[in-house]
């Protein structure tokens, strides 16, 4: 067990080091920072002095080590475009993205499990057929088209919900939240649906197929034979046993929710880190790009690691296989 955990942690650190190398390479090879910082009338002495100050005369391995140290402390230097600390810009933007990701994750979970159970129990009903067909269309639609469609219907035609921005936010010092105002909550609805729809269909299909599998098993038949109520059989006995894979998949999808937030944030002009990243690409703002890359890889790798370890803790069969296999 300890060997398994150590190996997974080692792999995660390796991935982070590789991503760090990519980010470092971006800094070193995409444009010369010395060229960017010094003006037209520079002398060779100026260039050499700045190189020494910035540590650019050191061997490349030492530079990489310094970069990792700085990155670990959240220090990515100044944004080329805004001239402010990158870490500060990201800290300002992060609450917007995390709130959006949280709400859409909850939306995907609730409706995904609900629809999944419904379509599994009423397998051949009209309602479940309609839901299954719609989910197929939903998967084929690109995220940005879903967003535009929602804006068209709910903002342009019905004029019910805002089409851009976060609405009014409340500043809690280190965190700005849209949960506390009415316009903030209203502004969350369309982006969350856009972002969560794909995950919702995924969870729904997963719950449905797992439920169909479980409902065939003997202990369900036995529970029915004992005369338990249908509700109790479906939810207490069947749903409970489908939740392990659902938790894993949802956990793994959390990372893609944050990544796909880039698209949703652009459609809805949501002031989060995704929109920041897209703007950074458009203006080749390397420090912001590198910082976003590092941030998102830490999240991804962390989530993967936690899900792996959780899975290991939940499912006892894996423990036996883990020690036998290696």
């Amino acid at each position: 067990m300890i060997a398994f955990i150590l190996r997974r942690v080692f792999q995660s650190v390796l991935v982070l080091l590789i991503v760090g190398l990519v980010a470092f390479a971006m800094f070193s090879f995409v444009g010369d920072p010395v060229e960017n910082m010094l003006g037209q009338e520079r002398t060779q002495a100026d260039v050499d002095r700045l190189r020494e100050q910035m540590g650019l005369d050191q061997p490349i391995v030492v530079q990489y080590w310094t970069f990792l140290g700085n990155a670990f402390q959240g220090n990515f230097g100044l944004s080329y475009r805004q001239g402010r600390e990158v870490s500060q810009i990201i800290a300002e933007r992060l609450p917007a993205t995390l709130e959006l990701a949280f709400v859409s994750g909850v939306f995907a979970m609730l409706f995904g499990i609900g629809f999944g159970v419904f379509t599994a129990i009423r397998r051949n009903g009209i309602g479940s057929n309609v839901i299954m067909t719609l989910s197929l269309v939903g998967v084929s639609l690109p995220t940005f088209l879903i967003g535009i469609l929602l804006i068209w219907v709910f903002s342009v035609e019905l004029d019910m919900l805002p089409s851009f921005g976060r609405g009014d936010t409340v500043d809690l010092g280190w965190w700005t939240t849209g949960f506390l105002t009415q316009s903030g909550l209203k502004a969350l609805i369309l982006p969350s649906i856009t972002l969560g729809l794909y995950q919702m269909t995924l969870i729904m299909r997963l719950v449905r197929s797992e439920m169909l599998e479980v409902l065939r098993q003997d202990y369900i038949r036995f529970a029915r034979a004992r005369g338990l109520r249908e509700k109790s059989v479906n939810f207490r006995h069947a749903l409970k046993n489908t939740l392990v894979p659902v938790i894993t998949v949802t956990g793994l999808q959390l990372g893609s929710i944050i990544a796909f937030a880039i698209i949703t944030e652009t459609v809805f002009q949501w002031p989060g880190v995704g929109l920041l990243f897209i703007n950074a690409i458009q203006f080749v703002d390397i420090p912001v790009m590198a910082a976003y890359l590092m941030l998102i890889s830490v999240m991804f790798v962390g989530i993967n690691l936690i899900v792996d370890l959780l899975y290991f803790a939940i499912d006892p069969r894996l423990r036996v296989d883990g020690t036998k296999g290696h």
Binding site: L145, A259, F260, I263, F277, I278, I281, Q282, I296
Partner: protein
């Protein structure tokens, strides 16, 4: 054209090849599936329209001489209030015919999609073959790289590669290079699927007798991989290629929509949707609607064909 009149034997051979193809298992399954036929017809119409866009399109949207600002914002199927001209799908803000811009935009979308999948396929199949056949360190390095890349969603990888490439190319070439950068970015983000499947299939194939026989008669490693193993691992590759095509078209549209893809001088469907979104609130819905529907038909027909192909080529379902 040297051989103007082919000998009758060759004609017969070609005829019989055609009839045998028509009567094959594969064609039979195709004729039995209405979904496959309809998606194939839709896809063919779209592809032909895109390929022959200069002939089909009523206007050349990129010829500044043919543009007339007075024609701007003409609704579909209604005569323009100044010139009385009728545009099937209306015109955009600069008086460009939406139907023509869609045809030309689809050309770019399809070109980027096909080229990116081809690139991903070449890269993935090569690396997969090498990893599967050679094993050892080659395999470890290639598959570890694949694992690391698979941790991140493809669209994010493509965005990042696009961003880095944009930083490297000089400013004056950026717009010209954008299409090629897009192809490389989407291709590089998508090779993993091919490599994994080909490696898996190669691991199975390489212990079969025909490969051992080829090794025994002293064929080189390269020849065994290319001439013996490759033909036998191609059918799953084809299925992945079709599904990848749909994903690549959507990825291209997404990147262009986000403004990190095809430049406004060479608008793809995604760029057109990006432009059209700006007119949603002022009521000119057609500038957005028709490119979006075209993109949807394109992605859906490729997707459905891919699904059908997967079932048709699956030996276990025969």
């Amino acid at each position: 054209m040297v051989e103007t009149t082919p000998p009758p034997a060759a004609t017969r051979a070609r005829m019989s090849r055609f009839t045998s193809a028509w009567q094959s298992d594969f064609a039979w399954k195709f004729r039995r599936s209405p979904v496959a036929i309809v998606s194939f017809l839709v896809l063919m119409t779209l592809v032909l329209g895109a390929v022959f866009a200069p002939l089909v399109a009523p206007y050349d949207p990129f010829d500044p001489g043919s543009l007339n600002l007075m024609n701007g914002f003409t609704p579909p199927m209604e005569p323009n209030m100044f010139s009385g001209e009728v545009f099937w799908l209306g015109t955009d803000d600069q008086g460009r015919d939406v139907f023509s811009t869609i045809l030309f935009g689809m050309r770019i979308s399809l070109f980027v999609g096909f080229a990116a999948v081809l690139f991903a396929m070449l890269l993935g199949v090569t690396l997969g073959l090498l990893a599967g056949y050679l094993g050892g360190w080659t395999e470890t390095i290639i598959m570890r790289a694949a694992d690391v890349q698979l941790t991140f969603p493809a669209i994010l990888v493509a965005m990042l590669i696009f961003g880095i490439a944009k930083g490297i190319t000089p400013v004056e070439y950026r717009d010209q290079m954008a299409i090629w950068v897009l192809i490389i970015a989407i291709g590089l983000s998508d090779w993993v699927q091919f490599a994994r499947v080909v490696r898996g299939a190669t691991l199975v194939e390489k212990n079969k007798e025909y490969v051992q026989a080829a090794r025994l008669i002293g064929r080189s490693k390269g020849a065994i991989m290319l001439r013996h193993i490759l033909p036998n691992v191609m059918s799953p590759v084809l299925v992945i290629a079709t599904i990848s095509l749909a994903l690549a078209i959507i990825a291209e549209a997404t990147l262009s929509f986000l403004g990190v893809g095809a430049p406004p001088t060479q608008p793809s469907l995604g760029t057109l949707i990006r432009i059209g979104q700006g007119f949603l609130f002022s009521g000119e819905w057609w500038i957005l609607f028709f490119p979006a529907v075209t993109l949807l038909m394109l992605a859906l027909s490729v997707n459905l064909l891919g699904d059908w192909l997967r079932d048709a080529l699956n030996p276990r379902l025969k």
